[in-house]
Structures are given as structure tokens and as C-alpha cells.
């Protein structure tokens, strides 16, 4: 793994005070004192794991396959196929011919990209500014942590967005999500673990706080920034309720709202998507599902590489 979150890898060879924790991994060899599991227990264990895993893989496989299946096979199989015999992109061509899907993908992409950049900016500055004992640092941290315990409520938030004149604007999907207390905690914990000597020496050389943040702290924190950024991006891509609340204009629907209105509620997919020729509606619906699914599947390996640590950092801090 090229980058880790571990402070041991920092250029200055200072040993961290924190004890290196036990690995999550397991000794590949069975310890001598451990008895072999009974066949019954072994069977139950296998069954649970296989069933749980299959319940996740099968629906996804089914949806992807059906979206790729051609008419004949679909008709023969009665709606669903587990493996497309003659894969065709017909369903995708159809949904991308109408304006709706492309449009909503554009909206989702815009919200995700702009939102993630803004969110990282706000979170990094806030986390760095409170990662050392500065004036007002502590009350600000408490003010953030308080948000973890209490929520302002749906109606007042809605009225606030309305008051700001953001109804039916894409900013209503972005601004409420640009700061997450959990991500803040993760990032701040990481910043606090950066050796103080680095920062001190830069300061003696006359660096301002901005310079220190930009030239020292951020380059050292690429990994945690990547994780938090991915968390934000996934959140923006997946967010559906804000759009339901604040967006009426069809041309500004993000992909999740489109998915809800045409697949979950199943209201005339063909009409709504502005599509004239109708191949089997099943595969069209599936294609929309896949379009929303693919970006997540694409970033998932990156996410998975780092997220465990992010979650645990947050958990340790509580």
C-alpha cells in the first residue's frame, strides 16, 4: 500500500507515542490451544457467511445482468436473467437518448464534485484551526460535537433554505452537506497526531499558519483527506432527501430522485424519460439502477482501502 494513515511513515523519524495497536488480522495458523470447531458449528458458520454474502451479490448481479439482457432472453426468462447470453447495450442507449438521465447525471456529478471540494475546504480549515490549543478552539469544538447529539429538525432547516432563497437551486443540495461533524473529528484527530516539531520549526522559520497548513499539514495528510473526501463524495452522490425537499424543477433532479420516481415508484418510465421506443421496461429500469450504482462500485475499492481506519479513528475519539 502506497500511502497509509500511520504517523510512523512521516518523514521525520520520530517514534509516535501511541502504542502500535494489534492488527485486525488473524494468525493464519491455528494456535495450538484452539480446538477444531465441531462440524455442526462449522456448517452453521459457513451457511451464515455464504447466505449473507449471496444476498448482497445476487441482487446486484441480477440487476446488472437484466439491464444487459436482450429482448428474447428476457421474454423467455420471464423478466429477470442471472447472466446475459447475448449482452446488449440497448437499454443504455435508450435511456441516454432521452434528456432526463443524462441531465440528472450531470446534476449529481456537479453536486458531488463542487460539494466535495467545498466540504474538504471547510472541514480541513476547521479541523486544523482547532487541532492546536488556540483562542476559542475548545468552545468551537464543543459547538461542533453538540451537532452530533441534536438535530435542528426538518421544518426549521427547510425554512432556513427557503429564507436563503435556495429553493429549487442546486446549492440547496450542496450547502447543507459541506460539513460533517464525524469527518471533522476524524480529520482533527489526524492533524493532532502530526508531530509538533514540524510545525514549530516551520514557525521559527517564519511560516504563517496558512503556509503551515498548505505546505506541511496537507501534504502529510493526503491519505486522510482522500478518505474524508470519498466519504463526502459518496454522501453527496447518494443524497436523495434534500432533493425531494428542495427541488421541484424536473431538470434539476439528481439521479437518486430520478431513480426514486421512475423505479421505486414505477411511474411510467418511458414517458418521464422522454423515450419513444420502448424495449422491455424491466431492462430500462435496471439500466437506471446500474447508472446510479456504477460510480459507487468504481470508488469502492479506494474507499475500502482506507475507510476502516477512518471509522476507527472516529470511534476512538467518540
Amino acid at each position: 500500500m502506497a500511502i497509509t494513515l500511520s504517523p510512523e511513515k512521516l518523514p521525520l523519524g520520530r517514534k509516535p507515542k501511541a502504542r502500535k495497536p494489534k492488527e485486525l488480522s488473524y494468525n493464519p495458523k491455528r494456535p495450538v490451544w484452539k480446538e477444531r470447531p465441531s462440524p455442526l458449528y462449522q456448517t452453521i458458520k459457513t451457511l451464515v457467511l455464504v447466505l449473507f454474502g449471496a444476498s448482497i451479490i445476487v441482487p446486484i448481479l441480477l440487476v446488472v445482468s437484466t439491464s444487459l439482457a436482450d429482448k428474447d432472453q428476457l421474454a423467455k426468462a420471464g423478466g429477470f436473467v442471472l447472466w446475459p447470453e447475448r449482452p446488449t447495450l440497448e437499454a443504455y442507449q435508450t435511456i441516454f437518448n432521452g434528456p432526463m438521465v443524462l441531465n440528472s447525471l450531470g446534476v449529481s456529478a456537479f453536486v458531488t464534485i463542487v460539494g466535495t471540494i467545498l466540504a474538504l475546504f471547510v472541514t480541513i480549515t476547521m479541523a486544523y484551526a482547532t487541532s492546536r490549543p488556540v483562542l476559542f478552539g475548545r468552545p468551537v469544538v464543543l459547538a461542533v460535537l453538540f451537532t452530533l447529539l441534536f438535530a435542528p429538525g426538518l421544518i426549521p432547516s427547510f425554512l432556513m433554505i427557503k429564507q436563503l432563497g435556495l429553493l429549487d437551486s442546486l446549492w440547496s443540495l450542496i450547502l447543507p452537506g459541506i460539513f460533517g461533524a464525524f469527518n471533522f473529528v476524524v480529520m482533527r484527530s489526524f492533524f493532532m497526531n502530526i508531530p509538533q516539531e514540524l510545525i514549530e520549526s516551520a514557525r521559527i522559520d517564519g511560516a504563517s499558519d496558512w503556509t503551515i497548513l498548505w505546505r506541511i499539514v496537507i501534504p502529510l495528510s493526503k491519505a486522510v483527506i482522500a478518505v474524508v473526501g470519498l466519504f463526502y463524495a459518496v454522501g453527496f452522490w447518494n443524497s436523495f432527501f434534500n432533493a425531494l425537499l428542495y427541488i421541484n424543477d424536473h431538470s434539476k433532479w439528481p439521479i437518486q430522485l430520478l431513480l426514486r420516481n421512475f423505479v421505486v415508484q414505477g411511474s411510467g418510465a418511458a414517458d418521464g424519460l422522454g423515450i419513444s421506443s420502448v424495449p422491455p421496461s424491466q431492462s430500462i429500469q435496471m439500466a437506471v439502477v446500474v447508472v446510479a450504482l456504477v460510480p459507487i462500485l468504481m470508488v469502492y475499492p479506494f474507499l475500502q482501502k482506507h475507510f476502516t481506519k477512518g471509522v476507527l479513528t472516529g470511534a476512538v475519539k467518540g
Binding site: S6, S25, V140, L145, W210, L213, V316
Partner: protein, 350 residues
Amino acid sequence: MNSTTEAVPALPDADRVPAHAGGRIPGLGKGKPAKAKRSKPRTQAKQSFRSRLRRDKQMLLMMVPGIVFLLLFFYIPILGNVIAFQDYQPFLGIGDSLWVGWQNFVDLFANPDFLQAFWNTLYLAAWQLVFLFPVPLVLALIVDSLISMRIRRVFQSIAYLPHFLSWVLVIALFQQMLGGAGFINNTLRQFGMDPIPFMTNPDTFPVLVVVQMIWKDAGWAMIIFLAALASIDASLYEAAAADGAGRWRRMWHITLPGLRPVIVLLLILRIGDILSVGFEQFILQRDAVGAGAAEVLDTFTYYTGVVGGGWSSGAAAGLAKGVVSALLIYAANKLAHRFGEDGIFAKKVG
């Protein structure tokens, strides 16, 4: 998994890390040396505030975007909850709307729809607490007992995935599998059997909800238990085994006590969150199952306030929920302290 998790530092607390005053070296630059402070406390304190302000100018500037966010989208909306005590009219605004005191709350508790939503919330919360909470723990115990690293990694990769799918996508997938025209019912029909209304039967709705939650988040929730399991000293197991303790005894006397703090912590968080039984999940399925079974406090707030225009009653319902949740989390934390656990805000926050 092991490569990503080799270093989960036991993070030092904010107060312990930088021992030096304010991150500055005493005697260098603008920072006041600690000695000067002691001699003239009052004026020095003032002076020190001003000099600290000057010193931390840039850091304070960096807090501005975050603070603006907190004010705009958290603290001011919290104050906006006053409309729960008003007869709020959008064209009059908060300033000119009539104050009605507790009337909205009185009306709410006389409203059968609200009571239904309240009851549904408690009912579903109980289901979740009993059937959802133990699942990740059991999964983690099974995964932890796996000897093969490969199987372990593959299973974790699969199990974490649904956490990153949106609720819309999850419901869509469930519909394609279990819905009226879904895979399973299609198959049943081909074999000449009657379809089963998994997705639309109000009576089995709690089961459906819990299954969906398990599908989406149980694998993910496993992480924290796995970390806790890995931190249990392996020599304890070895010693116990040498003394003749079997698999179950070891689990009862070593594993579960080792997991106790984590379990307590998660339970507290769960209890504080208990009235938020799953907003998006319900709003997405309310039409299919009917308001009788799927209306919870959050959806009630949404439909009464935003859809129905009853801003004040919606806000009252939301506020009632928020206050009860805050009280619950406080009480759960107190209880945890009573049992000698740290809870969430142990002795200090931060």
C-alpha cells in the same frame, strides 16, 4: 484487511499533545512566557487575550467558514424551532406570526395520526433494538473466528459494500428481488404459486425494515466489533484454554467482557437515535405499505409540515422528537456511568 489497519493509533487527547503554551515556544516571538503571567494576573490576562487574538488571527480566520456553516444550518435553525409555539404563517414570518404557547403540542397529542406515528416509531425501534443490534456482533464473532485470511477479506469486501449504496438504490434492489413483479415472485408464478407481498404487507413491514437494515449496514457495523475483538489479549484465551475452558466458556468469560465497553457505547448511541428509525427508508416505502404501518415521527413531520403546509404542527412534532432523543441519550449515558462504563462523553468531551 490487515494492510489497511496496521496503525490505528490510540489517539492522544487534545489537552495532552502540545504541552507548550499555545503552540508557541516561550520567549520566542509574541507568545508571553508563563512566568510573566503569574506576576500580574489581571492586566496580564487582558493583555494575553489581546496578544493571543493577534497571535491566533489566522487560525481564527480559518474557523470562519465552519462557524458560518454551523450558524446557518445548525444553530439558527435550532432557534427556528420557536415556530412550534406559534401559529406560523409563511407570509407573516416568524416575527409577526401569532404566539399560541403549547397549543400545537396539545393538538398533536389529540391527533390520532400523530399518535399512530408515535406508536409506529416506538414499535419499529423496539424491533430494531432486539433484532438488528445483535446481528453485527454475531457476524463479527464468526468472521473473527475464521482462520483463512482470504475468506475473511473476501467476505468483508462484500459485506461492507451495501453501506455505500443509497437508500433509494437499496429499496430499488429489494423491489427487483421481492416486489410484486420482482425476481422471487416471478419465479413463484412460473411454478404456479401465488406471489407473496413481501414489500406491501403492512403486518410484516417491521420484518422487512429490519431485513433491509441488516442488508445495508450489518456488515459495516461489524468493523467496530472486529477492532474491539482484535484488541483483546490473545494470551488470555491461551491461558483459559490451558485451564480447560472450552470455546463457549472463553467467549463468555473473555470475549464478551472484552467487548463490553464497545457494546455499551453503541447501545447508547442507538438509544439516542432510537426515534430516528430510518427516515429515507420509510419515506420511500410509505406509499407501498400505507401510512398506517410506515408513518413514523420523521415522515409525519415531513407530510404535515412540508407537504401539508402545517408548519407549526410539523415543527412541534420534530421538536418533541428532538428533545426526547436528547433526553434519552443523556439518560443512557448516565446509566452507562452507573454501570462503570465510559459512555460517550466520559469525563470530558474533545
